[in-house]
Symmetry: C2
Subunit: 707 residues, 2 copies
């Protein structure tokens, strides 16, 4: 294996906000629950050498650490335990096979494989208990395998770990022993278990002490800090040891809105997770293979497959299905920041959820409406004290790290700012509408459309009011800021960039997204007989087209903003086109459409900016803006799809070969600890790490023959 | 205040395994639940300067830390917040008043005080719900106070903190706002709250940002990492702001044996703790004063008062009252090691619990009998394969860090050893009996004695069997090791010392303790008409006396062991006398007693060893053994009591002036982070830190006029 294979990846249950992270050298992964980062545990996975007895080849996911025994044994008292030798396997000798649901490390005749099937979650309103239970099990699955057919002695294989010594302690779970199960658990929170005949567990202060001890029953030493589960592989045999890696939290786990994990309905405690996981191990292992096929297309390059696998894994690590007073509440936490259901991530994750479980999108949208919507007024930057009618919009998020914020408030937004942490009123309004319109088009959920017609009308009005308070002066594009900013200025999701992408007012990125919303609303209103509003929508989308066409620069590209002085060029001008594509308005991309000039301009814009020295780095990777080297991979994936599929960007364009450059970003040793990450400064990961947003990559599965 | 006042101390509820630790400079304390160490949070406590507006004098329990905002704001976007200036108060300017239940820091006209009353826990079998609720509230109480009568402007005072970013997040608890309560909570786990009129809360990334912001409602910023609760003190006024610092864990919290916190019966969640705490704040504050008086004697020196206060605080930080299927289960966790009810600590904590709540001792003893007793065989070191009848004894502990071990097994003991982590079969047998006999004598609980008469008989037999398998060859002192050691050798509680104190067999420390047990059993058996066994007890205690008298060296002192080659001298030969003193056998200390020669020898022994170059360090502090510089403060306290009270050691002896030297151990900057600690290597704390065992100091309260 090349050394660039040593990257952390999530291996996560569905909706358990948990991850067994592994892949980066050193104590860099392990069992994490509700964390914004890897758990930094020492993980011991290995096998006894064929040539040297008592020497154990061990994958490099640990390091020689201080011996906790020293905290107790302050004097040498003459007890010297035999220690085995752990030999750390060279990364260059490891083979890794990395797919969305199966992650396999091999060294010589030894393999360690993790299975984490990406089951779609059935709609809880209609699904059977058994179907829900199967999918929501808070566990991933793994196996140790040694081919000892050529060996001339019995050899031991093992999986072990050292939890961080923060609260709970590692223990052998004796309650399960009577059922033939050996396990190492940390408190009531997580653990690993096997029902393989002959498997054993032991705990002591170091792995070499455990492996050096021939009496397998000597070290049931609860005071120890490291546990190993091991088994003997007789010479001449192949042995495979199944492992379930289980997580569990019971009771209420959130505040503000009080929720428990939905899986508690089926799994009251950790033991029940282990039992079910082992009983159905074969089925879960098989479904990892089946699920892998869901994300496979022959036309994809190896690099694209890597991006898809890695981003899907990181997504699931942030997912959390809650039980709110008996009703399901879907949450995607925001990676390292752990903000709850950040709405400007929901819109990027939309495409993935549409494929997997569209009801979760509806669930999030409804919770935003019920709990995290508000009404504001708006003002023009020249007259900050003159308030005009605004309307309904949504907060940026629902809270952070299991703490729900009060109704209508995010944990993120602060008044009086013009940059990061300012309000995203217009951005989130557009995001909610984009999600809702795509949901309706993709699912045909007419009952839902009917139920929320008035809401759509309210939101449409709110959108128009943010263009200009005087309807005569509207140009389709946001011109008024929310009163919630208290004299500040709204920002977009691109909060950590300079104003080229960060500022909402006049922003061409936001304009295109808004254009898609008006197109979708037009179709919706017309379908339900509200032609007046449909006509107004048409008028607004046309205004946007005209305004942007009027802003085109000499070279045919658009500036980042229609406001004076915006000189930067940005890629995400094209981003918003994708919502029209999926919300039922593919017609506007037809040559016969009234928007042909608009689409054509977009293609020219992209051609003009997507080149070295502009929105492309020297290695061919994509740069979102000339104003900044901060480039977001999730958005690049999306824009790649738009370029190829919507704008028929030429396949032989140098920028179409960028996937490997982006792969290098993720795999770079300075970045690879963080699993999938989003915000790269010229390839250096600085923000949005351990992040769920990369599933925009699944858009590539819908491409025709471009790639 | 002198700089030696900057030591961490616990401020803990009763039985909640929680601590608000404070006192060591830097981010070294804060809210800890179930931790074996301080929580290392930044704590912000301070007030606005009288002379400089916008400058806030802040106690030194924080440090300038990296600004978490940098994780988000990767570009300067022109938003510059006004920051206040935090001026760290010089430690030399601080006055600290440190007592068992009240800990007060003062700087000029500002005070911060923490109240943690040491309520005795009523017996749950008979106590009213209200009485239990009052005592078991998982909270401590504090207040901020500024005297602004001479001030010429309104000034702000504040309390704030930054939790470690491990799992849950800091939040303002809006549910309590409607009740007039402002609070800062971390998830559902802990928090601080006030109902003072005009108090406010805010959250941001740094304290200076919050204090620099005049708009008190701008920073309800859930994404922030630091929260401050503050209030304005108008010029000309004195304002006192009450604070409740609350902890809570719901549901099952332990494994192996499944328990919840007993306080859940009265407090279902964190909010209920806060509400009750604030409603009864005055009562709790007053009882801190009342409870302080319980630990006060005019005759004690300042240094002795310090030891008593500090050790009681550390004790409560490790206490945990659990609810095991409806029944109370008392646990004292072992400080940094967090072992559950370590039986060789129970015996040291016995004196404290006898004063406070004797039922907890009975509770622990019964759980040992029911769950953590076992029967073994014994062998003589010369014939390790020849097993003889042993008997009933007890495991070293019940588990660790909320993980209960299987029945009859400790988390500590390992077979095949002769030093640390070997079995403590004889030690724990003696410990259980010491506790039980003292409990019976002090409480007169005849029903309990009656219920367990057969158990006492079994334990007595077990004890005799460990002397010698051939009753003719018995000398009173342990001569046989437990089969559980599998050829190893048993150890005493002094596990980290050399064999002088660590080895059980022949040990003179253990011999004296065993002597007290036989005396107590003799009285018990005789009382209940079992004169045969009483006579055997008398015979055994007489044998111990004769054996030890026969072992006396030329200078009149005893060696550490009766086994050949034991040259070291140890202080704890006298330790075991204390159990005869409290188990109803004060008669043996009378001049008319048959043991007069024995007691006299003990006095001579102490005189001979308690001097410089032997069991005393150069500064007058006590050294447990000449074989080692590792000296345990809990045991020193106990031996001090024995020396003065039981052996009438002369008050003008240089060793009677050692308390200040021991105080220096605890207050030394290299030790003071760890609150109260036990194992000092010539004054350097190396083990048993953050430890509950120091409450042997309360024995001093029972002394006559010696000190």
């Amino acid at each position: 294996m090349k050394n660039d294979q040593m990257f952390n990846a999530h291996h996560s249950p569905v909706g358990a906000f948990s991850s067994f992270t592994l892949g980066y050298p050193g104590p860099s992964g392990g069992f994490g629950c509700e964390l914004g980062k890897p758990a930094d545990q020492h993980i011991f996975i290995g096998y006894e050498s064929a040539s040297e007895r008592g020497v154990f080849n061990t994958f490099p996911f640990y390091e020689e650490s201080s011996d906790a025994e020293e905290d107790f044994v302050l004097e040498d008292q003459g007890d010297h335990l035999e220690k085995a030798k752990l030999r750390c396997i060279e990364t260059s000798e490891i083979e890794r096979e990395f797919t969305p649901c199966i992650d396999r490390w091999a060294h010589n005749e030894f393999e360690f494989t993790i299975f984490s099937p990406t089951h779609a979650i059935p709609n809880p309103a209609t699904a059977s208990e058994e179907a829900m239970k199967t999918v929501l099990i808070p566990a991933v699955f793994a196996q140790l395998r040694l081919d000892n057919r050529k060996g001339d002695h019995d050899r031991r294989i093992f999986f072990g770990f050292q939890p961080s010594n923060f609260q709970a302690h590692i223990r052998e779970n004796w309650n399960l022993c009577s059922k033939g199960i050996r396990s190492l658990c940390v408190g009531r929170d997580y653990g690993v278990a096997s029902n393989a005949e002959g498997s054993n567990t032991a705990i002591h202060f170091t792995a070499d002490t455990i492996l050096g001890e021939p009496d397998r029953d000597r070290f049931h030493f609860g005071n120890g800090t490291i546990g190993l589960l091991d088994a003997v592989v007789p010479k001449g045999e192949i042995v495979t040891i199944p492992l379930v890696m289980a997580f569990h939290r019971s009771g209420l786990v959130t505040s503000g809105i009080e929720c428990s994990y939905y899986y508690n309905r089926f799994f009251p405690n950790l033991d029940s997770v282990i039992l079910h996981g082992l009983e159905h191990f074969e089925s879960y292992r098989a479904s990892a293979q089946t699920e892998n096929e869901k994300w496979h297309r022959e036309t994809l390059t190896d690099s694209q497959r890597f991006h898809i696998a890695h981003s899907i894994r990181s997504y699931y690590g942030s997912t959390q299905l809650l039980d709110r007073a008996g009703e399901p509440m879907w949450v995607v936490n925001e990676g390292e920041y752990r903000m709850i259901n950040t709405l400007d991530l929901t819109i990027d994750q939309l495409f993935f959820e549409m494929k997997q479980n569209p009801w979760t999108t509806r669930n999030v949208l409804e919770h935003y409406l019920e709990l995290y919507s508000y009404r504001d007024q708006v003002f023009s930057p020249g007259e900050p004290d003159a308030y005009h009618p605004g309307g309904l919009s949504f907060s940026h998020d629902m809270g952070v790290a299991n703490c729900f914020t009060p109704q209508g408030e995010s944990c993120y937004e602060i008044s009086g700012l013009k940059g990061c942490f300012s309000y995203m009123t217009h951005e989130e309004l557009v995001n909610w509408l984009c999600c809702a319109l795509v949901y309706l088009e993709q699912t045909g959920d007419e009952a839902w459309a009917h139920q929320y017609l008035q809401t759509f009308k309210d939101l449409f009005e709110s959108l128009c009011n943010r263009d200009h308070s005087d309807s005569e002066q509207r140009n389709g594009i946001m011109g008024m800021d929310s009163s919630r900013t208290k004299g500040g200025a709204e920002i977009t999701t691109y909060d950590s960039l300079d104003p080229s992408l960060g500022r909402s007012r006049g922003n061409c990125y936001l304009a295109t997204k808004t254009w898609s919303v008006y197109l979708g609303l037009e179709k919706l209103f017309r379908k339900y007989g509200n032609n007046d509003d449909a006509d107004l929508c048409l008028s607004q989308s046309t205004r946007i087209m005209k305004t942007l066409l009027g802003a085109v620069r000499e070279d045919g590209s658009l500036p980042s903003s229609i406001e004076p002085g915006a000189e930067t060029s940005i890629l995400p001008v094209i981003e918003g086109l994708v919502y029209a594509w999926f919300n039922g308005r593919k017609d506007v991309f037809e040559p016969s459409s009234g928007y042909v000039e608009f689409i054509s301009m977009m293609r020219v814009h992209l051609e003009q900016v997507l080149k070295p020295g502009c929105c492309m780095f020297d290695d061919g990777s994509w740069r979102l803006t000339t104003g900044n080297t901060n480039s977001w991979l999730s958005k690049i994936y999306l824009c790649q799809f738009v370029a190829r599929e919507l704008l028929a960007f030429p396949e032989n364009h140098p920028a179409m070969k960028s996937d490997e450059a982006h792969e290098n970003w993720l795999k770079s040793p300075s970045n690879a600890y963080w699993a999938w990450g989003d915000q790269f400064y010229a390839g250096e990961l600085k923000g949005s790490r351990y992040y769920p947003r990369g599933v925009t990559s699944v858009l590539w599965l819908d491409e025709k023959q471009h790639c």
